[in-house]
């Protein structure tokens, strides 16, 4: 999918039909593989300070050479930078921005969606129009327009994506809070004189949080796609930053001389986004089935 599809992707219901035993709780093989991929990307992101110098070392005279030349495992790009080093260094930007976007969007969702679902009234109406407006528009296009008009850059892109991602969180939290609100334990808390915000954040929040966290994980996958798409168009991270999207933009013109400039970060983006999605789907399915059992 292009990007920013999180808001309307239907969740496939759990229809495997297997009885819920302890064995069924163990993650399936694909999810374990996804967790391994993610662990490797996280390690690469943590090693960032160590590979950064190597990644930024230019050798313009060398230019783009293919696999294996002068000890470059995947060759070099047009500036003579090592493709392997750049791809390793790009892991941080691939995870950092999207995690920021997911957390920011989650925060808006919890505060706005939670308050709207709990209080109702005019605030709920406004929150509803806000989500309607953003979900009715082609988000990818809006991200390109807004980030482009504002001149791009890391923080601008992050804020734009937070705003564009937030409607799905607002809707999710609002619905979950409205589901909890009429339950006896909330009524008991209210009757015993506990203040509204306290009921919302101390009593309702713990029951809503697991679903919100699973959703945030899925948002990371879509934010990764969105962020790298904007970087590919020259709007996300600034030029010169090791970033998978930027590498692909450079790699397009180098498909003839060194295709690895494109292939390595391209496969990394696809693998990482898929891995985050698989883990997120699995987590969400598990939480939902637990909620049903309770």
């Amino acid at each position: 999918m292009s990007m920013l599809t999180r808001a309307r992707t239907p969740r496939t219901p759990d229809t495997s039909g297997t009885p819920r035993t302890v064995a069924a709780r163990r993650p399936p093989l694909t999810v374990i593989a996804a967790m391994v991929v993610l662990a490797l990307v996280v390690i690469a992101a943590l090693l960032h300070p160590l590979v950064m110098d190597w990644a930024l070392t230019q050798n313009v005279a060398l230019g783009p050479v293919g696999t294996g030349v002068e000890g470059h495992v995947f060759g070099t790009d047009q500036l003579g930078r090592d493709v392997l080093a750049l791809s390793l260094a790009g892991a941080r930007s691939a995870l950092g921005g999207p995690i920021l976007v997911a957390l920011g969007s989650m925060l808006i969702g919890v505060v706005l969606g939670g308050t709207a679902g709990y209080r109702g009234g005019s605030l709920d109406f406004l929150a509803g129009r806000y989500t309607d407006l953003l979900l009715a528009l082609p988000a990818t296009l809006l991200a390109i327009v807004v980030a482009g008009v504002l001149g791009g850059g890391y923080w601008v892109t992050a804020v734009v994506l937070i705003v564009l991602f937030s409607p799905s969180d607002v809707r999710l939290v609002r619905a979950a809070v409205m589901e909890q609100r009429p339950l006896p334990y909330i009524e008991a808390a209210r009757v015993s004189g506990i203040s509204g915000p306290r009921v919302l954040f101390r009593h309702i929040a713990p029951n809503v949080l697991p679903i919100v966290v699973a959703n945030a994980l899925l948002n990371v996958a879509f934010a990764l796609v969105a962020f790298s798409s904007l970087s590919y168009l020259g709007l996300g991270v600034p030029p010169g930053t090791p970033d998978w999207g930027r590498q692909l933009a450079d790699g397009r013109d180098l498909l003839g001389s060194n295709p690895m400039v494109t292939i390595v970060p391209g496969l990394l983006i696809i693998a990482t986004a898929t891995a985050v999605n698989l883990v997120g789907d699995w987590l969400e399915g598990r939480l939902n089935s637990e909620a049903v059992e309770r």
């Binding site: 999918m1 992707t9 219901p13 528009l137 008009v149 292939i263 496969l267 999605n277």
Partner: protein, 323 residues
């Protein structure tokens, strides 16, 4: 349909159209104000290579009404836009309407091809998954759809470009080709790139919708009465079609986002590539007009899909009038 029954439908359509107009209005204000408050001086952009003096800047500001307050500027733009005049491109000086008209053909061709490919392939695969849930085919297609939903269009496009155009040499590297067959050959890879993500979405959607219907009581009842699998599936598909077709309208919104990435990747002279250029060169009249054009198509198609469904499915009609 009698007149009494038609009235809620007409009211609903009008309400939705009003909503669409309001949405487009808000969108135009948002984009206009973004441009108004964006960093950088539009007057300097307009001057281009000409000499920048205080006098020339003031002259350009007067000419483009940039010295007017925001509301006056917006009102002026809106009045002209309602008459079909979206101004001139800052970069080329051409009228924006003509510029977009020249580019829209390529975009329509890619999006149309991708839409057909993804719907035909996605619906068929989704039905196959739902009917044989838990089979190896189902598991492969469901995992594949996660992959398809996760993979960004530009990464898929570049990998396809490398494998099929550079390595195998089966498809051309760039260009749109001449004539119908050559054109199709040139647009095959871009359309396929765009279709992969959409198809993955359609598979998920169709599988969920058909699976839900297959689990319904009426299926058990129909089977126990001795209806054949084929006959039952026909009923199931009719019922599952509602959510599927409604969501297909939403797919349009993704098409327009994805087409920017695909056109840039395959160096195609479409409206998406125009958008990327316009954003890069701060060609604001083009950005504004293109954003609204896409907004118009997306909101109108959403309204059309919903209204068509009310016409087709009488059960939904009752729900509308009660709302």
């Amino acid at each position: 349909m009698s007149e009494g029954r038609a009235r809620p439908l007409v009211a609903y359509t009008l309400r939705r159209l009003l909503g669409a107009v309001a949405l487009l209005f808000v969108l135009s204000v948002v984009v206009f104000s973004l441009i108004y408050w964006a960093p950088g001086d539009i007057a300097r952009n307009l001057l281009g290579n000409r000499q920048v003096t205080p006098e020339s800047l003031a002259a350009v500001r007067r000419q483009y009404h940039l010295d007017q307050p925001f509301v006056v500027q917006y009102a002026g733009w809106l009045r002209a836009a309602l008459h079909g005049d979206f101004g001139r491109s800052i970069r080329t000086g051409e009228p924006v309407g003509g510029l977009i008209r020249d580019r829209i053909g390529v975009t329509a061709a890619i999006c149309g091809l991708a839409f057909v490919l993804s719907v035909v392939g996605g619906v068929a695969a989704g039905i196959a998954c739902a009917v044989r849930r838990g089979s190896w085919l189902d598991r492969i297609l469901v995992s594949g759809s996660v992959l398809g939903v996760s993979a960004p269009a530009f990464a898929v496009g570049l990998l396809l470009l490398y494998v099929f155009a550079v390595w195998l040499g089966w498809f051309p590297f760039y260009g749109t080709g001449d004539g119908l067959l050559d054109g199709l050959w040139h647009l095959a890879l871009p359309a396929l790139t765009l279709a992969i993500g959409l198809a993955a979405f359609v598979v998920k959607l169709t599988r969920a919708a058909v699976a839900r219907e297959l689990d319904a009581d009426y299926v058990v009842f129909a089977r126990s009465r001795g209806l054949g699998r084929g006959a039952v599936l026909r009923i199931v598909l009719r019922n599952a079609a509602v959510p599927i077709v409604t969501s297909l309208g939403l797919l349009l919104a993704y098409l327009f986002g994805g087409t920017v990435l695909v056109e840039v990747t395959f160096a195609l002279p479409g409206a998406g590539a125009l958008m990327q250029d316009a954003v890069e060169f701060k060609d604001f009249p083009v950005v504004q007009a293109l954003t609204l054009a896409v907004g118009l198509i997306v909101t109108l198609s959403a309204v059309v899909v919903d209204v068509v469904y009310l016409l087709v499915d009488p059960r939904l009609r009752g729900r509308v009038s009660h709302r």
